[in-house]
């Protein structure tokens, strides 16, 4: 693959990642959780695939497949099953402020990734700030989300962001660590899925405002 094409592919994947995250925040996460999350998973998988092709390592391609299976298909399914079509209430801050906040966070992401320039100046390094932005968006979703599912989505976005940074900055952490991370994330999502079910049985709805009994 020529460098020029490689740069465009990386740029494309990063752009889709960013777009999906923005849309998630815009559409208050629940309604369109499944398609947007699978889109994000797909973008991440393609990013890994492009890197694999460029570096020519079979390992990365297998990882891309793994990411595709988990992040594009598996986790969104869990999301849908756990939300059971429940239309959640509005987040803590209205959409306009959250979009302005996202713009601010994007600026922060670019400022913060200044020291990463030490990794050289290839197209992958240019894309790293997108990964960090993704992490910040995930946090924003978590902080403002009033529903269990929104927090689940936020956590997944953070994880996608971290994986993106990993693959972009160093071509992926050692395989054994990557497997461990994916397994952990999967288990956390399963636990959250079970807990969401229990919250729904206990409180009737997954609105987190009921969960304020434990305070000082």
């Amino acid at each position: 693959m020529s460098d020029q094409l490689f740069a465009q592919a990386i740029g494309m994947c990063a752009a889709v990642l960013l777009l999906s995250a923005v849309l998630l925040v815009w559409r208050r996460a629940q309604a369109a959780a499944l398609p947007l999350m699978s889109l994000q998973g797909l973008a991440l998988a393609s990013l890994v695939a492009v890197l694999g092709i460029q570096a020519g390592s079979r390992e990365l391609l297998e990882l891309a497949a793994l990411v595709l299976v988990f992040k594009a298909v598996g986790l969104p399914l869990v999301l849908v099953r756990s939300s059971q079509g429940e239309q959640g209430g509005a987040p803590l801050i209205n959409t306009a402020t959250s979009l302005i906040a996202m713009a601010g966070l994007t600026a922060v992401a670019y400022v913060v990734s200044a020291p990463l320039s030490a990794l050289g100046s290839g197209p992958t390094v240019q894309a790293i700030p997108v990964g960090i932005a993704l992490v910040l968006y995930g946090f924003l979703l978590l902080v403002t989300g009033r529903h269990a599912i929104v927090q689940l989505v936020g956590f997944l976005v953070i994880d996608n962001g971290t994986s993106a940074v990993a693959f972009l900055s160093s071509g992926g952490v050692p395989v054994i660590v990557e497997l461990g991370v994916v397994l952990d994330v999967l288990l956390v999502i399963l636990i959250l899925y079970v807990l969401t079910g229990r919250i729904r049985d206990e409180f009737g709805a997954t609105d987190l405002d009921d969960l304020t009994e434990l305070h000082d």
């Binding site: 803590l92 922060v108 400022v111 913060v112 200044a114 020291p115 946090f139 924003l140 978590l142 902080v143 403002t144 989300g145 009033r146 927090q151 987190l208 405002d209 969960l211 304020t212 009994e213 434990l214 305070h215 000082d216």
Partner: protein, 663 residues
């Protein structure tokens, strides 16, 4: 040599623990008491060995790389071990007969043994870590002892909380002070700390921290609040140990700091110590003179005596830079004499109060009276203790106060204006304290023992068992002994300070060489006896001709109903004083008159209630506690249960760290 002494004490402690746990109930008091007395006596011997210069080293194994943690008492430490050991032995013997109820439980005996040994180790430690270890062991075991009767009275728990909090404050202050010093000197050994005389800002900080820390343990006024609360709640033999021995370690620390660790010529330091001492002396005895609970009265009198000791330390460090070193040394000797005198008479008084409490079940002076005929030994010994506390001639108190006054008036005010002003004020303060002490202890003895009993308990009082009387008699004898043969105690004190025998003379008297003042109580007593002979002869002659006749009614200016309630009580005895010093005592008086139901103008009952407040407590401590409570309330809504708040904390922390690491 002293290491064998300390080893003996530790072995006796182990034995005491075993005996307390295993001895059968009816034998436990006797056996444990004797073993604890053994610890005391071993302490006295070790102290004597340290005083006579046979210091040995005993290292304690510690896991952390502190540097050697050693126990090897210097002469000064040896002196305090001697005093504390003696007090411990007397209190242990006394406690064999005294302990009853929870005070006779296994934990109390173990805690008593640990308490006495810990006090010995504080005086014996030669480095920071050993000192702090023994200091906190003493604090822990004394807290356990104060809590003995927590099931009997609700006030015990709050008093213990005050005590634990103030002791921990004192521990932290001492820890900070020593930490600053060890940072300066680079090691934790006292010898190295003493060697590094650096007069920088850090050493000023260390001085203030250490002074406040030791003042808190000694019960000096701004930090005295726990003393009148903890001592009355503890069993009497424990409050005797705490008052006569434990607070002395605060004085030991102060002497150690001013004479060895942080010797410096800056006048503000000595003025601070002098000022704090004077304030404590006057305020302590003022509160004591109006207190009507006997143990609270004795606790405040401890604050007064500790104030006098700090005054002596302050005066000596103030005089030293102005060339009159022998006057300064005399002031320090006066401080150590005060330590011994106070240990003697305060033990007597607290043990006496314990035997009154055991016999009558009453602590309030207003409900006692008429015990002089019912409890002869207790009243005699308490009387001697009261004489000592009031510093009347031929008692240890008088000798100590005399040496202190001599050192103050020979202050050599000619060289320096500050001395010319501070010395007279100090003498005035000491004099006012002596006057009020006189008033306090005449009140304590007169109201508690003389006239007719004011309550049921007082009228059925019996004399205490033998072990208590033995303890009382030994303590009272020491008060008189130190008074009649002061030469011995002065030589011990001056050897503790490393001054050689500068100030002791033959036939037991004192000859303050530098000051040209001499005091020989022996001949004075002889002259008094010579003069009393004719008086007694005339009395006996008159008695043979005209024997005393009993009448059924004291002279009540013609009144018929003379009931014990018409006698003066402790509150009324001190009423003129509380009226004269009302701005610092803030008395709240209310009189409730209940009229008889039939006629509006006939009075059925009049109730007079008076509550005196501790101005330091109401002005200083209550506001601080209020602030802490409000901070606690405000902090509660940090943790308000909403998960979004918690995530926001993490998010903000994440952003802050990102900023910090990149910019």
């Amino acid at each position: 040599m002293t290491d064998t002494g300390v080893r003996i004490q530790l072995a006796l402690l182990a034995l005491a623990v075993v005996v307390a746990l295993l001895a059968p109930v009816h034998r436990r008091a006797l056996l444990s008491g004797l073993v604890v007395a053994g610890i005391g006596i071993a302490g006295v011997l070790t102290g004597w060995l340290a005083l006579t210069g046979h210091a040995g080293r005993l290292t304690i194994p510690v896991a952390l790389p502190f540097g050697p943690v050693t126990l090897s008492p210097a002469p000064l430490g040896g002196f305090f071990m001697l005093v504390i050991g003696a007090v411990g032995a007397v209190c242990a013997v006394y406690s064999v007969g005294y302990v009853h109820g929870p005070a006779a439980s296994r934990t109390s005996w173990v805690a008593l043994a640990v308490f006495l040994t810990a006090m010995q180790l504080v005086a014996a430690s030669a480095d920071v870590v050993a000192f702090l270890l023994a200091w906190e062991l003493m604090a822990l075991s004394s807290t356990v002892l104060v809590l003995t009767e927590h099931a009997h009275r609700a006030t015990v728990r709050s008093a213990t909380l005050w005590y634990a909090a103030m002791t921990q404050l004192s521990f932290f202050l001492v820890l900070l002070g020593f930490a600053v010093l060890s940072a300066e000197a680079g090691s934790t050994q006292f010898a190295d700390l003493a060697a590094s005389h650096v007069d920088s800002a850090a050493s000023n900080l260390a001085f203030v921290a250490l002074l406040l820390g030791f003042a808190a343990k000694a019960g000096i006024v701004p930090l005295h609040v726990w003393l009148p609360r903890a001592h009355p709640e503890a069993p009497s033999h424990v409050s005797a140990l705490m008052s006569a021995a434990m607070v002395k370690l605060g004085v030991y620390g102060a002497v150690l700091v001013t004479t060895q660790l942080l010797v410096s010529a800056s006048t503000w330091r000595s003025l601070l110590v002098l000022g704090v001492g004077t304030l404590s002396a006057v305020y302590g005895i003022l509160q004591a003179s109006v207190a009507s609970d006997i143990k609270r009265l004795l606790a405040f009198s401890t604050t007064e005596n500790i104030g006098l000791m700090f005054l002596a330390i302050g005066a000596s460090s103030l005089l030293r830079p102005y060339g009159s070193t022998d006057v300064a040394d005399t002031a320090l000797v006066a401080c150590l004499l005060l330590v011994m005198a106070h240990a003697a008479f305060k033990t007597t008084l607290f043990l006496g109060a314990g035997s009154i409490l055991r016999a009558t079940g009453e602590r309030d002076l207003d409900l006692l009276g008429g015990l002089v005929s019912r409890m002869p030994v207790t009243s005699a010994t308490f009387g001697i203790g009261a004489l000592g506390a009031a510093a009347l001639p031929l008692t240890a108190g008088f000798v100590a106060e005399w040496v202190l006054l001599q050192s103050l008036i020979h202050g050599g005010g000619t060289q320096n204006r500050i001395l010319a002003i501070t010395m007279p004020v100090a003498v005035g303060a000491v004099a006012l304290t002596a006057g009020l002490a006189l008033m306090t202890f005449v009140k304590a003895y007169g109201i508690a023992f003389l006239a007719r009993p004011r309550s049921e308990g007082a009228s059925q009082a019996q004399e205490s068992p033998t072990s208590m009387r033995v303890g009382l008699v030994v303590a009272a004898a020491s008060v008189l002994g130190l008074g009649l043969v002061p030469g011995l105690s002065v030589s011990v004190a001056s050897r503790a300070l490393g001054l050689g025998d500068a100030a002791a003379a033959g036939s037991g008297g004192i000859d303050l060489v530098g000051l040209g003042a001499t005091l020989h109580p022996g001949p004075l007593l002889l002259l008094a006896l010579v003069l009393v002979v004719p008086v007694v002869v005339v009395s006996v002659a008159a008695a043979r001709r005209r024997p005393r006749r009993d009448v059924d009614l004291a002279w009540g200016s013609g009144g018929v109903r003379v009931s014990p309630r018409m006698q003066y009580t402790a509150t009324s005895y001190a009423e003129p004083l509380s009226r004269i010093f009302d701005d610092s005592l803030r008395p709240e008086r209310d009189v409730v008159v209940t009229h008889s139901s039939e006629a509006r103008y006939l009075v059925e009952r009049i109730q007079y209630r008076q509550r005196l407040s501790d101005v330091f407590e109401s002005r200083l401590y209550l506001p601080v506690i209020g602030v802490i409570e409000r901070v606690g309330a405000a902090a509660k809504n940090l943790q308000n249960g909403k998960i979004n708040f918690y995530l926001a904390y993490s998010f903000v922390a994440f952003l802050v760290v990102l900023m910090v690491v990149t910019l």
